[in-house]
Amino acid sequence: MGYVAIKGGSHAIEGSKIAFDHLRTKKSDSSAPLDTDTIEHQLRLLHSRVISEGGIYHPRLASLAIKQAQGDTLEASFILRAHRSTVPRLAETDALDTSNMRVTRRISSAFKDIPGGQMLGATTDYHLRLFRMDLLNESPEQFQAISKSWMEDLNLDSIPDTFPKVVEALRNEGLLAPLEKQKNQPKPFDITREPLVFPLPRSAALSTLARGEQGGLLAMAYTNMRGYGDIHPTVAELRVGYVPVMMPHPITGKPMEIGEVEVTECEVVAMYEQQDGTPVFTLGYGACFGNNEVKAISMAILDRALQQGMKHGPSNPSEDPEFVLMHVDGIDSMGFCTHYKMPHYVTFQSDMDRLRATQEKQSMEETL
């Protein structure tokens, strides 16, 4: 066995880990360690974001990732994503039908009223952004009381199980291209198994966006919304809820529900264009794990922009597939950003050598 003389390096790393964990427990005398339920529910939207960027639907591990990473969403998503690399693939389902979603929220900006109604659900959209100081000293009793009061007088029968898709209405009227054509698509591109080589199919773009880092996606979509692009989107439908995951029974072959995943889905209707002789509205689509509305809307806008770019050539950065898709992955970008903190002294030595040579040459010329 070869002998490895490890000096400073590994001691430093050990010490660093201890210091990091120490910071987490600083107020150990007055606060309790976070448990995964607390994170999953009281930090629900943060949790959704990490599941979405981690790309694997495991609520408990997502909570653990947030706890371990002390709230850094990029780190937490990274931990989840790395875990995903180690998990074997057991099966592949067919594409999930989101019209079967057990809806918790569902709105449309395109119509005043829609079949099933506009269900506002739990949202901060119409909150006043004023501090609720009473939350500062919330007692466990007050906490439980809120939860209890929700359960009283629940009218479980007044809500339908599923809601029809708004885009169906548009399709029926011929304002949107029929779904049948879209159903004959090839198998979706698997970005975790195949390298991205441009030009990409739309499914590759959508799956890359689905795990994209929320801030990056929003910024790029914003460039399009604000003026660079001319998408003029209207939200045909935004729905949040739980989509049943269906798999065929191993013996009978009948489709069975094996669980459900929380999904946010946004369909955006944009300008119309000619498709086989008839002008129709074009659709931008966004969907991601968890309750992530800003992300789903940004995705839908970028989806439309990229389709435009791939068809007519990009007229602004948000329509350029390489520009968008190579830069939205948080794990890639964060990793590379962080790597600048690693030792670079050999390359720097090389840089210094070049600069000195150049300066020398110039000063020699000046003295001549």
């Binding site: 390298p195 390489e322 790597h339 030792p343 030595q349 040579a357």
Partner: protein
Amino acid sequence: MSANEQFGFLDEYAKKEIRRTTLKAVAIPGYQVPYSSREMPMGRGFGTGGLQLTLALIGHGETLKVIDQGADDSVNAVNLRDFIEMTCPGINTTTLTDEADLIQSRHRIPEKPLREDQLLVLQVPYPDPLVVVEASEDKRKVLHGEADYSRLLVKLYEDIVKFKEITISHRYPTRINDHYVIDPSPIPRWDVPKLHNSKALVLLGAGREKKIYAVPPYTRAIPLAFQDVPFRVENFYDAKGNRRTCQRCNCDTSFLDEYIDSESGNKIYRCSDADWCEEQLSKNVSEKQLHEKVMLDEQAYDRQVETAPSSENAYQALDVPQSADEIQGVINA
């Protein structure tokens, strides 16, 4: 840290893909072969490309060396080596270049010429030298396919016009087998000539950019230059024209790291390649003396670690003046 049951962390499908990609890379010297790079527990930018190659290629009973900037104990190297050891039970590790079957390295090629039975894996941040002149990957593929590097060469021309020198320091574009030009990773110019007709196979892995490419053994690797403006390596001569030497082992033929000595404030130079420095040193000192020296170093270091002050006692332990009188005493001394 918990890790997968799999030998080499990655599942068999991933390893197979990496090996196939590597075969293609060796068959087409210098061509960047895309692959679906997996996320690893270390960040993109920390060597996940090189790491995936090592995990897919190293086997039970083989010996691994990992270096960063030439040093085995650099934090990045330590991190990677620990991970590989943990996920590949049954491999050996070493700091001796001679003993290694596979060397994974960031930013340096070992000073000691490698053998045919050794494998060098380099960590790559940017695989494509054309990225400075063409942003679109699609268009770059066509340029590579036609070996059209004129825009890159124009950059060199403009450099010479402006600075009378080619100012590229590391990542020097190098033509492999007279066709594809590669970015040889951020190795210094010093190391580029080692690629030419190398006895060992050199593999280059870019994890974030998801490409693997290779410089096969006994292959032409020529850095881009002009007939009359040749490729130059780093200059280690002082103002008087003397070649600088390593302060530790006295070597005058290796790539040197420049330090500012914390006590004297002077510049000192040391071999970047830690194992090379050790080897040179042992040539200067007899075996027995070397052994004694190593033992003494170890003991001194361990003592230092044992008596390192805990955070509360830091001040007292370091003899820092505690009162105004003490400070006055120090000044008057």
